[in-house]
């Protein structure tokens, strides 16, 4: 049976599934990466993703447009994060606790709204899903084609977002200023620049990305909204930012590593390898905890991460 796993076609399908599974987590993790580089710890990723997943579904169902669904999810994510930013940046409230409140809000509001909109969970309609988008000329390549070039639009966007976020952080003026906010906000303040404006921007961007990640779950995977559909992916995104040392490239690698484990366990279940599936399910999370334990010193963490900036 183990030999089944090693066949090329099976391997290709595991790797293709890896990218699919990676998409929502990668989007959320890149958003969280930007927020944390500005010095704000947004623990509300899970709830923001959940609201994104729900509003994407609601908008796609109402308008029949998946693109509008995606946009609705990003706006919702941005809005949730705007609320978070008002609380932690302007009012200086403890960031961890506020993030947990955002999670509870997302969890409760999505289910409440679902039941208000559709009589019961079971009666909610299914929607059409994003179709795979074959890249002309590349999709037909053996092995590489099915893995990389027969994915859905959002997956391509998520992968392209990695170099885009890198370029923004390390090559643009705003990126330099944003990193400065995370390391020593006072250094910007004494040059007469607003720390709050930059943190707001970073947090709201992070929310929009988490919203997009949530949208992928309903618009590209499940076709309907199920309560707690995110199943811890928002938390995984936070872990991945730490494991990826707050840098876009390593964050991509970490996302792929966790997603590969997830894809592997799905495939192993599929071919009936006799390991209790609960253990297989837990595998990516166990590895995440291991990665955290090994990253104890948190090298690369922004100096002022989680600390509100108050002039003085």
């Amino acid at each position: 049976m183990l030999s089944d796993l090693l066949q090329m076609s099976v391997l290709a399908s595991i790797l293709a599934a890896t990218l699919r599974i990676a998409t929502p987590v990668l989007l959320a993790a890149l958003g969280e990466l930007v927020a944390e580089r500005s010095g704000v710890y947004n623990m509300g990723v899970e709830g923001t993703m959940l609201m994104g997943a729900f509003t994407a579904y609601l908008a796609a169902d109402g308008t029949g447009s998946l693109t509008l669904g995606l946009i609705a999810a990003m706006l919702t994510g941005a809005l949730m994060s705007l609320l978070f930013a008002i609380l932690v940046v302007t009012l200086g409230i403890e960031q961890i606790v506020t993030g947990l409140a955002i999670n509870l809000l997302g969890s409760g509001l999505s289910v409440f709204w679902l039941r208000a909109a559709f009589a019961s969970d079971a009666k909610s309609p299914t929607i059409a899903l994003f179709e795979p988008l074959d890249i002309p000329g590349l999709a037909g390549l053996p092995f590489v084609g099915p893995v990389l070039f027969q994915q859905k639009l959002v997956t391509y966007l998520a992968l392209l977002a990695v170099p885009a976020v890198w370029f923004f952080l390390y090559r643009t003026r705003q990126g330099l200023e944003l990193r400065c906010c995370g390391e020593n906000p006072k250094a910007l303040d004494v040059k007469g620049l607003s720390v709050a404006a930059r943190r707001y921007g970073a947090v709201v961007f992070g929310g929009a990305m988490a919203g997009a990640g949530g949208a992928f779950l309903t618009l590209a995977t499940s076709a309907r909204f199920v309560p707690e559909i995110t199943a811890g992916r928002g938390w995984l995104a936070i872990v991945i930012v730490i494991a990826g040392m707050w840098r876009p490239g390593p964050v991509l690698l970490a996302t792929l590593a966790f997603s590969f484990l997830d894809a592997l366990q799905l495939q192993m279940q599929g071919i009936g390898i006799r390991v209790p599936y609960q253990i297989l399910l837990a595998m990516p999370y166990a590895v995440a905890i291991l990665a955290l334990a090994l990253r104890r010193r948190q090298s690369g963490a922004p100096e002022q991460l989680g600390i509100p900036y108050i002039r003085g």
């Binding site: 003026r173 020593n184 250094a187 007469g192 620049l193």
Partner: protein, 503 residues
């Protein structure tokens, strides 16, 4: 002769906080190319004044003119645009960034980070004022002196015509401070006006003119060459200073402390082995820039971090590896360098803070309960003995000023220190009056036969108080000088980690 308007002109500047006038009708001016010093004790209004100039605070009344133009900076951005540069008392740098990134961040237009253009301009500035700065080094790897230069270049990069330096030498060795002054003189030579805020006489005397502030008012503006350090001190504190000084060498008592190749734990790494002996009635001064192993050594002696190797004897008894409680029981008192973090519980009252460390003693208890009456009585006695101003036994200690908080800690630790008192930077950030008081108390404790280890960055204080001075740098004691033969420049060189082992 046409009289050009001065670079900076301040007229009748007033800033009130409630009933308190932090600046009360302050007027002075700084000419282009002048090094002008603002002298005053803590609380005299220097920081408020510089915050008003830099647009961080809005003055209630008065006028500020820059090159004759009224300056109404409501934000730092406007002050910078007008040509005011500020070097803050504590470095405002990003350790993880390079020198280049630190200087360029927050400047420029467009979406690209223009690092190449920044590099050229920094090279220009460094060339013109004779600074050697490698733009690609990480700021975390720079020496303290070099970080100060980065701050100066940062301000010049933003186009400063008036440079405000807020106590810039607090963390510099004497040599680094000399180099900074050489750079300042190149700046003034190029027509830049420099306003130096300081209370160190040695620096103030290098300026062209001095404006002395006391309780928010200008007491006098004098040409530095016409005044002596004593004159300025008198103007600053409003009376003559009576510096405390260890008059006669104390009669050497018995041995109190002996360290034999004791190795403090420096963040998991082994520090250098340290051997020394200390006698009753002796003050051993430890000179050195903060962060060179003083904290680790004193914390090891106080029992807060176990040594990695070596032995420690207290009053002839083995005391290696004893914890803080055991050492306190044996008569060791400890005054930590960060008084509000390590020395006090700011949310506790004065009485509660005085109790800390002896709450289990029978004298502090009434049955199973704390003896509230005893606590208050003890607090009242300490407040009287140590002249703690600003509250009674039930005042939250976090509300005390730095000097009074320090007196509170001294009151508690003096009571513990029957044999050995460890003092880490006891007068840092404390005004002259409280400093004098603390110095007198230390000498009184010495006269009682207590052995004292006093770590300080203020060489003048160490010279006045210590019987011997040991210089620490990079975790080692590089040399020990008897007070009589102490040579300031040799000590300064050792503080900077240069030079070999002294006698």
């Amino acid at each position: 002769m046409t009289a050009a308007p001065p670079r900076l002109e301040v007229r009748g500047l007033t800033k009130r906080f409630g009933a308190l006038a932090a600046n009360d009708g302050v007027s002075f001016d700084v000419a282009a190319g002048e090094l002008h010093c603002l002298l005053g004790e803590n609380g005299a209004g220097k920081s408020t004044l510089s915050a008003c100039l830099f647009g961080l605070l809005a003055p209630d009344a008065g006028e500020i003119r820059l090159d004759g133009q009224p300056l109404n900076a409501a934000t730092p951005a406007q002050a910078i645009a007008a040509g005011i540069g500020m070097v803050h008392q504590h470095f405002v740098l990003v350790p993880a960034f390079t020198v280049l990134e630190n200087i360029v961040v927050g400047t420029g237009r467009g979406w690209r980070a223009d690092l190449a253009g920044g590099r050229r301009r920094i090279a220009d500035i460094c060339g013109r004022y004779g600074l050697a700065l490698d733009p690609d080094r990480r700021v975390a790897d720079l020496s303290v002196g070099e970080k100060q230069w980065v701050e100066v270049v940062k301000a010049l990069y933003l186009g400063a015509r008036l440079l405000i330096l807020d106590e810039p030498t607090a963390v510099l060795t004497p040599e680094e401070s000399d180099r900074l002054f050489a750079i300042i003189r190149r700046l003034t030579g190029e027509g830049i006006a420099v306003l130096l805020i300081s209370h160190k006489m040695r620096e103030v005397l290098q300026s062209d003119r001095v404006t002395v502030l006391r309780r928010g008012r200008v007491v006098a503006t004098v040409v530095t060459a016409d005044a002596s350090g004593d004159d300025l001190s008198r103007l600053m504190i409003g009376r003559a200073v009576a510096p405390a000084s260890a008059a006669a060498p104390a009669a050497a008592g018995g041995e109190v402390l002996r360290l034999d190749r004791l190795v403090p734990d420096r963040a998991g790494r082994a520090g250098a082995p340290i051997s020394l002996t200390l006698h009753a009635g002796e003050i051993l001064g430890i000179a050195g820039v903060a962060g060179n192993g003083q904290d680790e050594l004193l914390e090891t002696l106080a029992g807060l971090r176990p040594p990695l190797a070596g032995t420690m004897h207290l009053m002839g008894l083995q005391a290696t590896g004893l914890g803080a409680h055991a050492l306190a029981e044996r008569g060791v008192g400890y005054v930590p360098s960060d008084r509000f973090r390590d020395g006090l519980v700011p949310d506790f009252t004065i009485a509660e803070n005085l109790l800390l460390g002896r709450q289990w003693q029978a004298a502090a208890r009434r049955g199973p309960f704390l003896g509230a009456a005893q606590m208050r009585a003890r607090a009242r006695a300490a407040i009287a003995d140590f002249a703690i101003a600003g509250g009674g036994p039930d005042t939250r200690s976090g509300r005390l000023s730095g000097g009074n908080a320090q007196k509170l800690i001294l009151a508690r630790e003096f009571a513990k220190a029957r044999h050995l008192l460890l003092c880490n930077q006891p007068t840092r950030g404390v005004d002259i009056g409280a400093t004098e008081f603390i110095h007198r108390e230390l000498l009184r404790k010495r006269a009682e036969g207590c052995a004292i280890i006093l770590a300080s960055e203020e060489l003048d204080d160490l010279l006045a108080l210590s019987d011997r001075i040991a210089v620490m740098s990079g975790g080692s004691i590089l040399g020990t000088f008897p007070k009589a033969g102490a040579d300031l420049s040799a000590i300064g060189r050792l503080m900077a980690g240069q030079g070999g082992r002294a006698a």
